[in-house]
């Protein structure tokens, strides 16, 4: 049951082979058993989950057609506000924050009948690629607990990889869904910017943040995206498009598919094991009827520097609301207003968050704005134009998700720039607002390798189909780490 797909779980629930309460209890028990080791969850609410499961069972038993995901357990990244359930964003600043409202994504998943088990650990305010910046301690990678699960959605990734939950939400600002999916052997999708509402998703970098699904397969992700996506008038950047069925192209044959391989993604910097796994996947795609074509994204080398101007700039402003005045942490003692701000923020934020606030404040400062922020925005447009040009000669772009497999704790945390390069292949996708995903495509020394797929704007369904056909032909995505039975 713990390895079942969402469709299998849905069928089992519909046929009364198992009840939602039984399924929920199964996963809650697994969380209780393994979370102390993995630290994938910050908050688990057993009673609440069982209440939701009972409600789901009632719906399933009532004979009416319940939505397909009804009764299936789910976890939210702790960046999504959940009414009445603590929302920390991985920070001391919000360690005791209880939101009075649900994020749009949370509402959607509730409406879909999914059973919320709890909230997943994450890098503080989604700033990190290893989950080491969480105030609640690092998450362990179930494939090797001496290694990081990736980040920032590392808790969601580790929880699914160890089968503590069948599916979870994540958010992706520079790779935070795709990179942990790669490092934990999962399938994760970042939709086109504007497809999933950001309302209630605690902002890191508003022009880049996008919520998306994480699960074991492309098919699961398609079903989850069906529930998550949709216009929301409360988010001005949400796109008002007709609803679509993201499963519609899952079984579409790959004949004639043109896969673009950016030469910039296949140079130095990638580990040999990652290269071999990605090459193997491409060979499989050719075998399935696709052709590959070399393309170029000439400005992709500028994506990390541009990102580390734009994202911190927006973050420095987005995080100004955490001032100790209205909610969240406030310093216990202070002499005046300025000291209240200083102590509150010095105590409430961790080192990486402070670093990015400082960078962001600097690049927006008078006299530096043009040289940094404005220039980075120009680079961003060039990067987006590169992709537009590339998609003239291919349908989907592929390459590695991350330059290496999961690294050891502390291996990169001493050098921020080294850490930032973990996202070297994923960041350009956010800058261009494109949909991207990571699917498992092999192993290097027992650790999963991710293949990244990048599609044109709004081509999620097609991209999911391309991923699904590969997963029909391979079994990388079904592998489960040992020790979590």
């Amino acid at each position: 049951m713990i390895n079942s797909s969402l469709r299998e779980l849905s069928a089992a629930l519909a046929q009364k082979k198992i009840s939602s309460v039984e399924l929920t209890t199964l996963f809650l028990d697994r969380i209780e058993q393994h979370n102390p080791t993995l630290n994938a969850f910050i908050t688990v609410d057993r009673e609440r989950a069982l209440g939701l499961a009972r409600a789901a069972d009632a719906k399933l038993g009532a004979g009416e057609t319940a939505p397909p995901l009804t009764g299936i357990p789910l976890a939210h990244k702790d960046i999504f506000c959940t009414r009445g359930l603590r929302t920390t964003c991985g920070s001391k600043m919000l360690a005791n924050f209880i939101s009075p409202y649900d994020a749009h994504v949370v509402e959607r998943m509730n409406d879909a009948g999914m059973v919320l088990l709890g909230k997943c650990n994450m890098d503080e305010f989604a700033m990190g690629s290893s989950n080491e910046t969480s105030y609640f301690g690092p998450v362990k990678n179930p494939w090797d607990t001496a290694r990081v699960p990736g980040g920032s959605s590392g808790g969601s990734a580790a929880a699914i990889a160890a089968r503590l939950v069948p599916a979870a939400t994540g958010t992706d600002t520079g790779g935070s869904i795709r990179q942990p999916a790669a490092l934990c052997g999962l399938t994760g999708l970042k939709p086109t910017y504007g497809v999933v509402s950001r309302y209630g998703m605690i902002a890191f970098a508003s022009s880049l943040d996008q919520g998306g699904p994480m699960a074991k397969s492309a098919e699961d992700c398609a079903l989850l995206l069906n529930a998550m996506a949709g216009f929301d008038a409360r988010d001005s950047t949400s796109l008002d498009r007709p609803a679509e069925d993201y499963t519609r192209d899952l079984d579409k044959p790959l004949d004639g598919l043109r896969i673009g391989l950016p030469k910039e993604f296949f140079g130095a910097g990638m580990s040999e094991g990652v290269r071999a796994a990605v090459e193997g996947a491409l060979a499989e795609y050719r075998r399935l009827g696709a052709t590959t074509v070399e393309i170029s994204l000439p400005n992709s080398g500028l994506s990390v520097p541009a990102y580390y101007v734009i994202a911190p700039a927006e973050a420095s402003s987005n995080l100004a609301r955490f001032d100790g005045v209205r909610y969240g942490h406030r310093a216990a003692e202070y002499r005046d207003l300025i000291e209240m701000y200083e102590k509150t923020r010095a105590e409430g934020f961790g080192a990486e968050v402070k670093r990015r606030i400082l960078i962001g404040t600097y690049v927006l400062s008078h006299g530096y704005y043009d040289a940094y922020y404005l220039k980075a925005q120009q680079v961003r447009r060039l990067i987006a134009a590169d992709f537009q040009e590339a998609f003239k000669s291919c349908d989907v772009i592929m390459g590695p998700t991350a330059p290496s497999v999961a690294f050891k704790f502390g291996e990169k945390s001493a050098d921020p720039v080294e850490m930032y390069l973990s996202d070297i292949y994923t960041i350009a996708v956010n800058l261009a607002g494109l949909p991207g995903m990571s699917i498992p495509c092999g192993f290097e020394q027992g650790l999963p390798v991710g293949l990244q797929l990048i599609a044109p704007w709004f081509a999620e369904a097609k991209m999911l189909g391309v991923a699904h056909r590969y997963q029909q032909a391979t079994d990388w995505h079904t592998r489960m780490p040992e020790g979590w039975q």
Binding site: R198, Y199, I202, A203, T237, A320, V325, R326, L364, H366
Partner: protein, 483 residues
């Protein structure tokens, strides 16, 4: 003093009369219990996002059309970043590089001459909350009801040359924004607040260093603060000290301005485009739609009053001081007939304005309706009522006699017997009696004393208790005396 030239520019924050806030659905009504009109967006909970209220944009378009400014087809909302407890997000959403309205201007009238004051720009932004320093025993209370109230910040060019001009400009702007219905203009409640940038220089020299007086919420304070500031700057310069750019506050109790500590205004606001909001796009269709719903503007109305009703420029300007007054006047003319336009103007600006002023009422709630006033003016026009007795009719109307009856004047004239007597056969016997009883005056008149004639007229009027038609009394009396 005369060798100094004063240069003033005003930045005015006008609260827009929208039902809900500029980026949230919370109510903007004034006076609610603290923090009861602050929703999740207004208190900046984690994860909330702004959504632009289109009504606020309509207000900006209206203003742009009214001042002849350019309405930007695409303008950008930016974040102005600074920390303050009543600024929940740690930034204010405003417009920086591209405002919604650019240019345009406003004509002010001062000592009978007109002056055109150019506008630099007008942009949309959100108001902050309020910090309450009283009643909290050394701590500060925060009320976020006002946070997110839509503001139009209107910036003038430094075209004003005295506090009187600044006040005239502020009054004209106040009249305009209330006229076009984009603000209630309530200054006590902070709906209309001015910042004044003041500098002095010798004529012909480049602009002097300016100091900005913040948050003046009455015309009187505006005048006092600018006058004090001008004198202070001149004194400084004349004593050989330089003026340093500063933000200053006006203390109404002392009548003085004082600079804020430099720490308080040493801001680098780190403006950048707000990534949560799309650029504001205003197409020609939207502008046309707003234009179609615009009221006639005061200047156009003044020209029409002069052309159509033969009013003087002064009368036309006075009658268009507020939209309600103009509306009342036009209603009165419509009921009284165009030939009575001038008397209508005189009554509205004279007796009615004086009574309203005395009782601190506004014209929209006048006890005498425009129709009732017109009914009375018609009777003066057709000779039924003398101007003198009209005052008595007006008093009766003011005191509520015939309330709700548009023909109340007729009823009052009838009931009180105030109808003017224009019948010669009724007046002649009275004249004969008066002449018989005032032989001395008759002789004096015949001896060439014109004053004696007036005395005789007065006697006849008195004998008829004011009801005789004075003109007719004049004619008949002259005829009798010359025969």
């Amino acid at each position: 003093m005369s060798r100094w030239e004063v240069v003033i520019g005003l930045e005015t924050h006008v609260q827009l009369a929208t039902k809900s806030k500029i980026f949230s659905g919370a109510s903007t009504a004034f006076g609610a219990e603290a923090n009861r009109q602050a929703c999740a967006v207004d208190i900046a909970l984690p994860g909330v996002l702004p959504v632009l209220n289109r009504e606020a944009v309509v207000c900006a378009i209206r203003f742009g059309l009214a001042v002849g400014g350019e309405i930007a087809p695409r303008s950008i909302f930016a974040r102005k970043n600074y920390f303050y407890p009543d600024l929940p997000k740690g930034y204010q959403i405003s417009q920086y590089e591209t405002p919604v309205v650019a240019g345009g201007g406003l004509t002010i009238r001062i000592d009978g001459t007109e002056k055109f004051v150019r506008l630099t720009r007008a942009h949309l932004e959100e108001d902050a909350g309020k910090s309450l320093h009283e009643d909290f025993h050394g701590r500060t209370g925060i009320d976020l009801n006002r946070a997110g109230t839509p503001l139009l910040e209107i910036v003038s060019e430094p075209d004003l040359r005295s506090s009187a001009e600044a006040v005239a400009y502020a009054k004209a702007l106040h009249a305009l924004v209330t006229w076009i219905g984009i603000s209630d203009g309530n200054m006590q409640e902070g709906s209309f607040r001015c910042d004044a940038n003041v500098s002095v220089r010798h004529p012909g020299e480049p602009l002097g260093t300016r100091r900005e007086i913040k948050n003046l919420n009455s015309f009187r304070f505006l005048q006092q603060a600018i006058d004090y500031e001008i004198q202070w700057q001149i004194n400084e310069l004349e004593e050989g000290r330089a003026i340093h750019q500063a933000t200053v506050l006006f203390d109404p109790d002392t009548g003085e301005t004082r600079a804020m500590r430099s720490k308080e205004d040493a801001h680098d606001y780190r403006y950048f485009p707000d990534p949560d909001l799309l650029p504001l796009e205003i197409g020609p269709e939207w502008i046309a739609e707003v234009k179609a719903g615009m009221p006639e503007l005061p200047q156009a109305m003044q020209a029409r009053f002069q052309a159509d009703y033969g009013l003087s420029a002064y009368d036309a300007a006075t009658l268009t001081a507020t939209r309600e007054m103009a509306r009342y006047f036009e209603a009165a003319v419509a009921a009284a007939g165009r030939e009575n336009a001038k008397p209508c103007a005189n009554w509205v600006m004279g007796e009615l304005a004086a009574r309203l002023n005395r009782d601190e009422r506004d014209i929209a709630s006048s006890p005498v309706s425009a129709g009732q006033l017109a009914g009375m003016i018609r009777r003066i026009g057709d000779g039924t009522l003398s101007s003198k007795l009209a005052k008595e009719v007006f008093d009766a109307l003011w005191n509520g006699e015939g309330q709700g009856d548009e023909n109340a004047a007729d009823a009052i004239i009838e009931a009180r017997g105030l109808k003017q007597v224009s019948d010669a056969s009724a007046i002649e016997p009275i004249i004969d009696e008066v002449l018989a009883a005032n032989q001395k005056s008759v002789e004096e008149f015949r001896a060439g004393k014109e004053k004696a004639f007036n005395a005789l007229v007065g006697q006849v009027m008195k004998a008829t208790r004011g009801k005789a038609n004075p003109q007719q009394v004049n004619e008949l009396l002259r005829k009798k005396l010359s025969s």
